[in-house]
Symmetry: C2
Subunit: 186 residues, 2 copies
């Protein structure tokens, strides 16, 4: 049900996804909604956000494993380009879907905020390891995530991956210059 | 009704906004829905997107009037910081709300794509006038809009304007360097 929720949030947003949609998509029995999610839609949306945040965070950490932030930015953007192209631009980021939807309670939006903060921190840690100062590393990490998430929205609206390709190129240049201009700590 | 729609889309998304909500918010009489929008919710969402895209585009063009793209980026970001802070992070960009919502038809999403393309073009024209090459101007304009729109989503999720402040600073640096490294056309 949580996997189905993530898929449906990506396509339809949170308000656009009912428990009936989730049951139909997942094939779960009707009674499982209140058995697993006694707190209703808010509790469900929080669990979906944590699951999706963890999954995307895992992909980002995988991309960062080589300690090469420029390659990681390109690889993370390429993953999203693959998602957009294979889904014909009908599905985006489930965590963004949660953040822009007012239907769920404040706990759901906070779960989206936590996911973004975790991704930002993962990226900033590697930038610091490559010698970028802590404040700059944080603001660069925010730029990278904001740029990629914003570009995913533009790609969906325009039915093309070109906005994200352009943004990934610009971000790789900015991050590369920041790393090149830094000395790794001794 | 269109002004109310833009406000409600910003807060609740498109799926989360019913015609009943729009009538209540605007005080318009019940019959006006099918009188003004015989095409139903799709037609309404397209009109709201065009209205909102024009309004935000007007603010961006105002910021660009001095032909100073760095000041324009800061001023456009500051406008959004004001919107986020005054609305306690409950409302974001209505055009993003349309782009990530699957409820409206393809015409609505295309209207969002047109709005983003128009803003991008307005910004790229000024970058070219300041000597930046056409391809670079376009990719920088995409970065600026994606970065600001993505950061607005992060701000809403985290209940803070800090992500957008950090992104605005990074974008001002990138745009400033591009303009400084270019020669205005003779």
């Amino acid at each position: 049900m949580i996997r189905s929720g993530a898929q449906l949030f990506r396509e339809r947003g949170v308000s656009g996804t009912s428990f009936a949609d989730v049951l139909e998509h997942s094939g779960a029995p009707r009674g499982s909604v209140y058995h697993h999610f006694p707190g209703g839609k808010d509790e469900f949306a929080i669990e979906v956000t944590r699951y999706a945040g963890g999954l995307i965070g895992g992909a980002l950490r995988g991309a960062l494993e080589g300690d090469d932030p420029v390659a990681a930015v390109r690889s993370f953007a390429d993953m999203w380009i693959g998602v957009l192209e294979s889904g014909e631009y009908a599905a985006g980021c489930p965590v963004v879907a949660v953040a822009v939807d007012a239907a769920p309670g404040p706990g759901t939006r906070a779960a989206a905020g936590d996911a973004f903060a975790a991704w930002e921190s993962d990226l900033a840690v590697v930038l610091v390891r490559r010698g970028v100062g802590e404040d700059r590393a944080r603001s660069l990490a925010t730029l990278v995530l904001s740029g990629i998430e914003g570009a995913i929205v533009l790609c969906r609206a325009q039915g093309s991956a070109e906005p994200l390709r352009r943004v990934a190129g610009e971000l790789a240049t900015v991050v590369g210059a920041a790393v090149a201009g830094s000395r790794p700590p001794a």
